[in-house]
Amino acid sequence: MSHVWVWLEQFQGKIPSIVWETMGVARRLADVLGTGVTAVWIGGAIANQAEEAIAMGADIVQVVEHPALADFRFEPYLAVMTHLAKEGTPQAILIGSTARGRELAGGLAAELGTATLVDALEVSIEDGRIVVIRPIYEGKLFARTYVERSPAIVTIRGRAFPKPDPDPGRKGEIRRVSIELDPLAFPTEVLEWIQETEGEISLNEARIVVGGGRGVGGPEGFEPLRELARALGAALGATRAVVDAGWIPYKYQVGQTGKTISPDLYIACGISGAIQHLSGLRGVKVIVAINKDPEAPIFKVARYGVVDDLFKIVPALTAELRRRGLAKG
């Protein structure tokens, strides 16, 4: 029976957690369907994550190396995936719901004449068919969806599924696949890479996020929040209002037209809680709100609230974490 496939997205040789979460879903589906998991690694140099993929649940790892595949580029990556999928007839292709993942998924759906179910929060098998629950309207509603043709292409929402524990004893097969690629067929060139998350915890993967809104008062108002984030090993987030005001760069923006995050803990400092910001928080387990205004809408979604000056509470919180030896840095 045809396999469930997983694309092993990698950046500079590192595979992000969302890919392993996706692998976990693929493994579960394959077990229910009585089939195996094929992982696909595409890149420019030797893949050293193939073994890791097997430990994480893959039965077969297809490895495609080519100088033209050094950087992620939509067209050549899509050409490789399309070629492999046409040969291997997977019944589903699972991809982490990242920027690259969603591009590739859309391209694959078009090339294979099928469809993508984006941002899966729940995946199950019903009557032999893969059924996905996914958020629509910024998470205000959910849709129960499936694909009528094969393969179903599914992107998996980050932090919605557990990352499997690796099993170093698992056996699998690594297949090196060589594909003829004409570099001239893909005229898109990557000129430069601007790293923005060096030394920072990424918002998408963070277990804890400290967010700042208008209440921080200005660019320097983020300092106590940064301090707290360092102590917690947390990522920093912000509302659109403060990004628009130029207090902090766009990459920190959470909410509609920014990032959607799903950490275990979100500490909202001086954030009133506009619906556009809240729509980026739907996957958060516990929200703590610190705001002077007791009527701020953020308290309606918060589990814990502190009605006080954030400039008093945030440093006290950092100090308390340090005092109890809970601080990371």
Binding site: E111, K140, A143, V190, T257
Partner: protein, 264 residues
């Protein structure tokens, strides 16, 4: 330069959505708006027109009432608008939507750039830009945060794409399909634009106009099915307000709670 901006009409993002027993989605009396992501694409296209000359054509696939969204775009400064409407289009998924848009873009003739929002705030799929790029056979530059340069003579474009770890700077030949991140502050419609838009007769293109057969469009051609839409289970959160004599006490009580919740 001729830039085509495919847009989508969506309910206002602040709308309260409900689903009735028959699965129909309602947004009460909340207004319909231009998908906010598409507004970034409109704004950027207008800036390119101001810099390089040419025109911006806005298109949408939707019901007759989606003309309102097109008029909004014209009021902002777009030059032409076309509605793609046909009962046969109903139930089109992202890939089929891309097929219809591609047919319309080809019918428009010489086009240098297709620029749209990275996703819509209703479907949230981000699948139309890549699918459209494939249907047109043009390079895809998705998640664009900045246009660095355009060389109209050399027919190339350099953009910064916003990915999880940073920005990828990419050069591609024109024509290309771009999708926009939050990359600017979209302008308000001007009064002059409003008057122009109000008087504009917007052409409607059907499947026949686009040379598409009934089996190529709509639900029949679509592989995705979404039979059930429902409101997510309500998470009743009761906010516990932490009070104390001093910030230190509040911090201590809060850390106690967070440890108990196992989120630290």
């Amino acid at each position: 330069m001729h830039i085509v901006v495919p847009i989508k009409q969506t309910p206002d993002t602040t709308a309260v959505l409900t689903v009735d027993a028959s699965g129909r989605i309602s947004w009460g009396d909340a207004p319909l708006i231009v998908n906010p992501w598409d507004e970034f694409a409109i704004e950027e296209s207008l800036r390119l027109k101001e810099k390089f000359g040419g025109k911006v054509t806005v298109i949408t696939l939707g019901p007759e009432s989606a003309k309102e969204a097109l008029k909004q775009a014209v009021a902002m400064g777009c030059d032409e608008a076309i509605l793609l409407h046909d009962p046969a289009f109903e139930g089109s998924d992202a890939v089929v939507t891309a097929t219809i848009l591609a047919a319309a873009i080809r019918k428009l003739g010489a086009v240098d750039l297709v620029f749209m929002g990275k996703e819509s705030v209703d479907g949230n799929s981000a699948q139309v830009p890549p699918a459209l790029a494939r249907r047109l056979g043009w390079p895809l530059l998705a998640y664009v945060g900045k246009i660095r340069e355009i060389d109209p003579a050399g027919r190339t474009i350099v953009v910064e794409r916003i990915l999880e770890e940073g920005r990828q700077v990419v050069r591609a030949p024109l024509p290309a399909v771009l999708s926009a991140m939050q990359m600017n502050e979209p302008r308000y419609p001007s009064f002059m634009g409003i008057r122009k838009a109000a008087r504009m007769q917007i052409p409607v293109w059907t499947a026949v106009d686009l040379g598409l057969a009934p089996e190529q469009v709509g639900a029949a051609a679509s592989a995705a099915r979404w039979p059930v839409v429902f409101a997510p289970p309500k998470q009743e959160v009761q906010c516990e307000f932490i009070q104390g004599e001093s910030p230190e006490e509040i911090a201590r009580l809060l850390v106690d709670r967070l440890l108990a919740e196992k989120v630290l």
